[in-house]
Amino acid sequence: MNDPIIRFDNVVKRFGDHTVLDELNFDIRKGEKVTIIGPSGSGKSTVLRILMTLEGIEGGVVHVGGEPLWHEHGPVGLVPASQAHLHRMRGQLGMVFQQFNLFPHMTVLRNITEAPVKVLGLGKAEARDRAEELLELVGLSDHAQKYPHQLSGGQQQRVGIARALAMRPNILLFDEPTSALDPELVGEVLNVIGQLSEEHDLTMLLVTHEMRFAREISDRILFFDQGRIVEEGSPAQLFTSPQRERTREFLGSELDRVLAV
């Protein structure tokens, strides 16, 4: 319980000349629910994409479950990770995408069973039972045989969550899961995520602009700006008495944004 399940150790990420993450350090403990907030372009999504191995890093070390993610132990120190190592490490993580990224050519049920069958080697019947449980969890039992385009955005995102959970990850990453949704569909997705946050074993790392929701479900908030953590703390601390001027400014602008809607 004390060892961090995720550790960023002086992680540097650049896109060309632009430094997205600037010697970033933070830890997340097993079972912790952490929300990253911050202005767009501050590198919050990049943190998730690095963890999901969608983006490499230029410096430092990322640890997941006590093992380096983008490196392997070589004869003398760390060497860049092989595909086999990345494949093994990826099994601990799951991701929910802003644009859902469901497979449009598969039914809802097959979206959820495909990876457990092909990647984990689960039997078809077992994968199906598990998928039906997950569909019940996200409230979509009646939609198993539909194709993604026949569902609303909120329903698609709930399938996205079920699909990620079907791989039984230890860590679930949410990359702005409600940003692409019409306002009236945000609630149903947040409800499902809120329900998941009560699972004590699941570590959750969430990037969102839904401040009230972040406050409700998070154990800890990280405020990002320009590739660094400006301030972190419990939701009560960070939202009610932010210490830094930059944090106050950001929270003020978010409040304006919400009130303007």
Partner: protein, 225 residues
């Protein structure tokens, strides 16, 4: 008395059967080639990539007629020079030349369709820990195929019309039969008009079949099927 053009029909239909076989076999070969080299052009392996580019450029950049003559007339002589029997039956030379040619155009269609699949699909597949091979076969290609179908339909019709060239290596296709009748009767207007209509009829049927296929592989798409 029956009109004289009726008498032309049996040999022309016999030729049409050969044309149909050539079209089916060479289109099939072309599709296989198109997938092999279309995917090959996107390979991370530089040798596979270079080989695919070379194939595509050579077969698109030279005349189909010359390719056909080369396979039928020049290849056996080349074989003779190095002591191997490389003589091809006309059907094989015809199917090879047509299939390799259509495959080169098809490869570009396959490549384009694969690249049009949304990057988010690859990210989702990677996040679910699919291997690159599983992603290609299970996620990318099934979504790319409906994208390819209209272009493949055009290529198949083009291929049907190109089969006329094989009459020049004395393969008894529809055009070859028409030439035979014309040499015998000198009835050019009637025979060539019949030939036009027969190709057109076959092309219509082929287009209809491709439409059906297109609808079938795209059933999952919004507003289709």
């Amino acid at each position: 008395m029956t009109p004289h053009w009726i008498e032309y029909l049996p040999p022309l239909i016999e030729g049409a059967w050969v044309t149909l076989q050539l079209t089916v076999f060479s289109t099939f070969l072309g599709v296989v080639m198109a997938f092999l080299f279309g995917v090959g052009k996107l390979s991370h392996n530089p040798f596979i990539r270079a080989f695919s580019v070379a194939y595509i450029e050579v077969f698109r950049g030279t005349s189909l007629l010359v390719q056909l003559f080369w396979l039928y007339f020049a290849l056996p002589l080349t074989g003779q020079a190095i002591g191997i029997d490389l003589r091809l039956p006309p059907v094989v030379a015809g199917v090879l030349a047509l299939g390799l040619n259509i495959g080169a155009y098809g490869a570009e269609v396959v490549r384009g369709a694969i690249q049009s699949v949304h990057p988010g699909q690859h990210e989702a597949a990677l996040a679910l820990n699919f291997t690159p091979r599983q992603t290609m076969l299970g996620v990318t290609i099934p979504q790319a195929v409906p994208e390819m179908m209209p272009a493949f339909g055009n290529l198949a019709v083009q291929n049907l019309k190109d089969t006329a060239l094989v009459s020049l290596i004395s393969l008894g296709d529809m055009t070859f039969r028409a030439e035979q009748i014309r040499n015998f009767t000198q009835d050019s207007t009637v025979i060539y008009t019949m030939l036009l209509f027969m190709y057109f009829g076959m092309a219509l049927v082929l287009t209809a079949i491709m439409r059906l296929l297109e609808r079938r592989v795209g059933q999952w798409r919004p507003g289709k099927g």
